[in-house]
Amino acid sequence: MMNEPYGPRPGKILNPTRIMVYGVLIVAAIYYLLPLYIMITTSMKGLPEIRMGNIFALPVEVTFAPWAKAWDSACTGLYCEGLKTGFWNSVIITIPSVIVSIAIASVNGYALSNWKFKGSEVFFTILIFGSFIPFQVMLYPLVIVTRELGIFGSLWGIIFIHTIFGMPILTLLFRNYFASLPEELFKAARVDGAGFWGIFFKIMVPMSVPIFVVAVILQITGIWNDFLFGVVFAGTENFPMTVQLNNIVNSKQGVTEYNVNMAATILTGAVPLIVYFLSGKYFVRGIAAGAVKG
């Protein structure tokens, strides 16, 4: 994709074109980094310092009180418990959702690439089209479905929803990856008498660690960042972190504490950001998978 070998061009000195290229890239990079800088510096200032009205200034007195407040006691309109409940809710939602959705989608992808049956491609095509349907279209019927299943407004409800909406992209990811593995391996295992599950667990899964990593990253960031499904399906006591962040920031009561808001924002963005910075290449692979088809 983007890891073909290439070396520096021999004997390249800085000419006006290259200065322009670097200039544009650096200006763009500053623009992209500025909000992160403002987030971090604002979260470490006291309110009087913020009222002086210079969002670019470094904090004169560094304080972590806003962070403590954001985590422990910021108010969401009803409760003043901070983000910590939202954080743990997001953890409890994300972990099982990631595991269940990947388990199901990897088996789907395997069946679609190695055990094609009559109609399997039709279902796959519908699934891919399904990924483009705006969630709003399926929102109300899904409320009814989850209510009938008795899981509306519960942890299981939100896990169910994330499994469904993760399925198209994950199935695509696994199907294309399994299809790219050498067919001989599969055939040899068949000759040796290995069955559907035997081949999956003994050959496919061990050979597919990278794509599982990509899938995990894709799902962790996607599910952690979800807002709409959390609001509708998780139930008030399971509200994920994004919902609580929005409630903290946009519950207009009393003085707006910009520093607490920014600390809360960083805390909410921390998990996907850390995942992203630790796994840049895999993250890129995951998001490009939907567009660069095999």
Binding site: A29, G53, V137, N225, F227, N246, Y258, A288
Partner: protein, 297 residues
């Protein structure tokens, strides 16, 4: 895949069929079933609960006579057009610059893409603070000496859409750039050698040769980004909550509000059916690309 004995096929594939059952149920019951349910019930007079009293196109008539909906559609169209043009132009330029065998390519790419790892809620909240007219960027510039500096996008009825755009583009342009870069890397090096021998300037090569060759990537990116724009919701909730007045309302928010806060399910369903129709129109170029070419080959 099954090349050997035929009679076994049905029995052997039973495992595969069982394994694919979640996918089959998901496509048929959820994606197809739920969408059909929504379309059918959008023709009913459902209020707080869905009822089977069919009223024809009454919900749609009401929808397009509601100023909030009309405003929402206008907003998402302005947002969509500007966002597409900007993210494609900037995304392509950044990708083309990154493709010049530059140093620190990975660092630049990491910086351009990190906002995409953040949620729309986080994005909205950050930009709400930056664009805050009383203490944010505007006040900072005034305090730094530009006393007439005006940058109050959020509280103006005509400008609030550009506040959404600033935040949305900051979050999403990196994604477009990455896809474009993947497309650029897919172009054969021989092409570059050939045009260099011909002496065609680089910028011209991009426009005349490279962009037409990237048709596939461009169309796919266009479809993915447009389908994402139609769903725009979280960002609006976090950044403006639709205000001031109705000036930053969007269709997805209309659907949510009518379904869950205003107990007017019929309106919500009709609005979401319009969203579905829009996405189908957006998908046409992609269907053409995917299935039109296969026929020819």
């Amino acid at each position: 895949m099954a090349t050997d004995a035929r009679p076994n096929t049905l029995f052997r594939n039973l495992n595969a069929k069982l394994a694919a059952l979640p996918m089959i149920l998901c496509t048929m019951l959820i994606f197809v079933g739920c969408s059909l349910w929504t379309i059918i019930y959008s023709f009913t007079s459902s209020k707080a609960l869905p009822v089977e009293k069919f009223v024809g196109f009454a919900q749609y008539e009401r929808l397009f006579n509601t100023s909030r909906w009309v405003q929402s559609v206008e907003n998402i169209m302005i947002y969509g057009i500007v966002a597409l043009i900007f993210s494609f132009v900037v995304g392509f330029i950044l990708a083309a610059f990154l493709d010049q065998k530059i140093r620190f390519e990975n660092t630049f790419r990491t910086i351009f893409l990190y906002p995409f790892a953040l949620s729309f809620i986080v994005t909205g909240v950050v930009w709400q603070w930056i664009l805050d007219p009383s203490l944010g960027l505007q006040e900072t510039m005034r305090n730094l000496g530009w006393e007439n500096f005006t940058f109050d996008l959020i509280s103006g009825k005509d400008t609030v859409i550009y506040a959404l755009l600033m935040a949305g583009l900051w979050q999403g342009t990196g994604f477009v750039m990455v896809l474009m870069l993947a497309g650029l890397r897919g172009i054969d090096d021989d092409i570059w050698k050939a045009v260099r021998i011909e002496g065609i300037p680089k910028w011209k090569t991009y426009i005349v040769v490279v962009i037409p060759m990237m048709r596939g990537v461009l169309i796919t990116t266009l479809v993915i980004v447009s389908a994402g724009i139609v769903k725009l919701y979280d960002l609006v909730v976090a950044l403006t909550n639709g205000g001031p007045g109705l000036s930053s309302e969007v269709p997805a928010k209309y659907v949510y509000d009518f379904m869950f806060s205003r107990a007017n399910i019929g309106q919500g369903l009709a609005a979401s059916t319009v969203m579905l129709a829009t996405v189908f129109i957006i998908l046409i170029p992609w269907i053409y690309l995917e299935y039109g070419n296969k026929g020819k080959k």
